[in-house]
């Protein structure tokens, strides 16, 4: 077992912005384990940042620290993207990198957010960009900056500007929320007196498929989150559930009971007649496509207990994937196809596991006992999942080794069914280099 060494609490910034209820906000970060290497990065006070309702540099810092790969240092001075910083001074403070920038309110009410990243070790300008955004996109601009820094310093794409979907239940009201990957800026896409489960992002990051019970049965909808336009994808006789998109966004796999039992079907994203993929007398459900679209992983109790299996995406011969334990459900695959996250029941506890599909080796990565529904960040470096902490439902993010976890804090009521969305299209920017 890894021992808890440090416990850091971040994200206690009070957002003074707008009159919105910020009930769903902030991930608190726990770092545990030994041998973590974290890049020390200094954050300057962005020039004129006080004109912005969002504290840009602080958002960037919290993003980077939540990844577990960075440790923030306060530069203690105002430096903008045109400043020539005293690099050797920052080197002496132990910083490997420095972020500078500014926020300017434009005549049309938008904000121009600019930044520059410095490699302090090599005394090198690593580039910057400027984003002209409306107030509602200031946080997005900050997340874009965090993505830029992450990519420059780790060589991998950042996921800070992605979004997550999840469901809350309070009294008898169910809500489907869309939030930034840091849990902030949560906005309701759907509210209903009946349950909502299984939200699943389309590869374009604009639409969600989900199961809503608002007509007193499970029906699959496809919902455009920015416009609120939605349509029924599957409302056949019986239950309709477990929607998941093919990587090209052209089709969805769903679980239908229209022919008796729970079986997996493919439906064109535009709607139409389902094509049956599984032919069993057992439960077949929770389909998910492999990243290349060639295979579908799913859960079946055909062997007597629920296990994860794999079949060609057009149906066909089925291979068993999990062999340890007698309750393995809710598979999710990393974008490179190497890792499979899933929930396994071990000694009566439901624990998030990560399997290396190349090595057929799996490991439980949490200390909680009621884990549910993992999904990967699009860069494959983190997972989001639901669990219970002190008897309350909670959403967590974790690195694949379980060393750095963060809890979405501050929410009221129950919170569940997370799904991490895909990379978003880049925002319009100038002089990104």
């Amino acid at each position: 077992m890894i021992s808890r060494l440090t416990r850091l609490v971040f994200g206690l910034l009070v957002t003074l912005c707008c009159g919105l209820p910020s009930a769903f906000a902030q991930f608190r970060v726990d770092v545990s384990g030994v041998g973590l290497t974290q890049v020390p990065i200094a954050f300057a006070n962005f020039r004129d940042e006080q004109t912005s309702p969002q504290k840009i540099a602080a958002i960037v810092q919290a993003d980077l620290e939540r990844s577990g790969q960075f440790r923030g240092l306060a530069a203690g001075q105002v430096l903008d993207e045109t400043s020539r910083p005293d690099i050797s001074g920052f080197r002496q403070k132990g910083a490997d990198a420095l972020l500078t920038g500014s926020v300017t309110r434009l005549a049309d009410g938008r904000y121009d957010v600019r930044f520059r990243l410095w490699d302090v070790v090599k005394s090198q300008d690593l580039g910057g960009a400027s984003y002209a955004v409306v107030t509602g996109d200031l946080r997005l601009a900050a997340h874009r900056i965090a993505d830029f820094v992450y990519e420059k310093l780790t060589g991998e794409r950042g996921v800070f500007s992605t979004r997550v979907a999840y469901v809350t239940k309070s009294a008898q009201r169910f809500s489907l929320w869309i939030a930034d990957a840091d849990g902030e800026n949560a906005q309701a896409a759907l509210t209903s007196p009946e349950p909502i489960i299984s939200p699943s992002w389309a590869p374009n990051g604009q639409q969600l498929a989900y199961v809503s019970f608002e007509s007193r049965k499970p029906v699959v909808y496809v919902h455009d989150v920015s416009t609120g336009k939605r349509r029924v994808l599957a409302n056949f006789r019986g239950s309709n559930s477990a929607p998941t998109w093919s990587p090209d966004g052209q089709r969805l796999a769903v679980t239908l009971s229209r022919d008796g039992g729970s079986q997996i079907y493919l439906i064109p994203a535009a709607g139409g007649e389902p094509q049956r993929l599984t032919q069993s007398n057992s439960i077949d459900t929770e389909p998910v496509f492999s990243p290349d679209g060639s295979a579908i992983y799913f859960v079946s109790d055909r062997g007597g207990s629920p296990q994860i299996y794999r079949m060609p995406a057009q149906g066909g011969p089925v291979q068993r994937v999990t062999f340890t334990g007698n309750y393995n459900i809710s598979p999710s695959l990393s974008a490179d196809g190497r890792w499979m996250a899933y929930i396994s029941r071990v000694g009566g506890q439901y624990k998030l596991h990560v399997m290396d599909l190349n090595a057929d080796k799996a490991q439980a990565i949490t200390e909680t006992s009621a884990d549910e529904r993992p999904s990967f960040a699009p860069n494959g470096r983190m997972l989001i999942y639901a669990t219970q902490v002190q008897g309350r439902e909670a959403l967590m993010t974790t690195t694949l080794d379980g060393r750095i976890t963060a809890r979405l804090a501050g929410q009221s009521g129950d919170i569940r069914e997370p799904h991490w969305g895909p990379f978003q299209n880049k925002m319009n920017s100038t002089k990104e280099n």
């Binding site: 707008c18 009159g19 919105l20 955004v133 107030t135 509602g136 996109d137 997005l140 979004r163 869309i178 800026n185 906005q187 309701a188 896409a189 759907l190 509210t191 209903s192 007196p193 009946e194 489960i197 299984s198 608002e214 007509s215 007193r216 049965k217 499970p218 919902h223 989150v225 920015s226 416009t227 609120g228 939605r230 349509r231 029924v232 599957a234 409302n235 056949f236 006789r237 019986g238 239950s239 559930s241 477990a242 679980t255 009971s257 008796g260 039992g261 729970s262 709607g271 439960i283 459900t285 929770e286 859960v299 459900i329 809710s330 029941r345 439901y350 549910e372 569940r416 069914e417 978003q424």
Partner: protein, 174 residues
Amino acid sequence: MKKFLLSCAVVLALAGCSSGVKLNDVPVEDKTGTTASTNDAPSSAQSGVTTVQAGKVSNIDPGPAGVGKVVYFDFDSFVIKAESQALIEAHARYLRADKNRRVSIEGHADDRGGREYNLALGQKRSEAVRKALGLLGVSDGQLEAVSFGKEKPAVPGNDEAAYAKNRRAEFNYR
């Protein structure tokens, strides 16, 4: 369009809106819900989200008078117990008496395990009841077996007493 699903905005729901839900419906364009903007941000915000509010569906047919509506199941079981036989026969008589009567059989699971897998388990329970009604001469067209999984527990709690009350199938007349 049939009265497939008259769902209404919350405002209308307060005034009381009801609808019948027909079986065998095929996917149609959804006309439910209303949209409302949640934030003051200009619509040009890339990260903006529009909120849809789903309405409530209510029932018209109360079902057979004086007959229970719930069938309970053992742990990990989909077998109808002998004690439920009389209740199922009473529902079968009610349905046989009028071929226009429609019932939705809603399967439920206890709180342990994943939501989708429990949905499939609840489906097995509702289908067991549907098959039992079929054997008693009820026309299949009057029946729809659906599942709520673990989403609508009858009683809260994480002990065996609560679990036993939640492993069930309910008759819901339309």
